[in-house]
Symmetry: C2
Amino acid sequence: MKPLRRDAAENRERLLAAANQVFADHGLDAGVEEVAQAAGVGMGTLYRRFPSKQALIDALVGNLRLELLELARSAGEREDGSGLRWLLFAAGELQAAQPACLQRLWRHSDVEPEAVTEIRQAFADLLADAQRHGTVRPDVTSTDITLVIWSIVGIIDTTGAVAPTAWRRHLELLLAGLRPSGQPAAGLTEPALSPAAAAAITG
Amino acid sequence: MKPLRRDAAENRERLLAAANQVFADHGLDAGVEEVAQAAGVGMGTLYRRFPSKQALIDALVGNLRLELLELARSAGEREDGSGLRWLLFAAGELQAAQPACLQRLWRHSDVEPEAVTEIRQAFADLLADAQRHGTVRPDVTSTDITLVIWSIVGIIDTTGAVAPTAWRRHLELLLAGLRPSGQPAAGLTEPALSPAAAAAITG
DNA sequence: TCGTTAGCGGAGCCGTCGCTCCGCTTAGAT
DNA sequence: ATCTAAGCGGAGCGACGGCTCCGCTAACGA
């Protein structure tokens, strides 16, 4: 595998950035021509670098999965039981910042599969850790954490364009649901979604 | 507006049922021809009854909104503070049973808009009621309930095909997050999603 | 029973979008 | 400075999906 010519490598990066932007703005249904134009290159260039639109999307998904893996590893270094909460918020930030391929991120897709399993394992370990520290109620399982992630994805997908931080409020409430009996509810730091914003989405 | 001929009316119903089925199975991207075949009618019949694919979808959305309005009204009759919880579960059941146009249900769309506002008002009233009864913590606002609904939609959208009741577990945890400080956490009645099912979705 | 007309089916039209092809350009080695 | 092959752009091809059109059928009032 010879290294790419300098201009070609630069165009590749531009394409990825443009695709991220375009798909985030107009959804994955956006046309490839729009991506090429946003990157300032021709269709030929796009298809020389990525054999299909799907491959382009996969590249974005792969990058995102690797970034998430990074986060999962740093979360694992925390030993005080706060890693789970930290990782959930960090993952939320990442996803809210790059909402282009959210669905694909957590659905069956062959890119970087080992990253996904390692991330899942990290979440399981962090959950056990939190339960050991008494931060999370004992009847919660690791698939419940998966549900938490999926729900955040759904919230970002719905509200992201209008209220990019609304997912935090949702996550805070959800984490409150994971607290053991007897613990007082933590105050909510993220302000509630404004009714106007909600109306803008629901119509 | 003259009433439809008997066979025509029957075909209209068949089309709605078929569309619901097909869209639920293959998403809204499913072709109109598939819908027509599932209904056992020709394309002409479909387009005589519904001027566009969008109109067909809107009809489904409208029906769902009206059914939901029904539920919201019955929930309002409960005066013991349990209406909110009841309505959330009832709405979840309805949505899980008819996942065809879930996204459109709660997004800007001009069909039956007054139903949507009435439903939203009902949720707000039920929330106030629950807070008066001390079932829900006081710092929760009505847009938080909107977030709850959106998150359920997201969960059903993700897990519906593999685990049609997983959303209940999620809702139970979320409701636990709404409980005031000091109240013990209610036990979870819905079993956790199996790791195998989760893996089937995430890959 | 008979006539009228709403209703029916499905081949095909047309716009869209993913993708390819090929003649020109230019980075980078010698 | 020169050469060459990797890279480039964008017109255009083919497939697909929403929608239309028109000759035939049958519901239903008289």
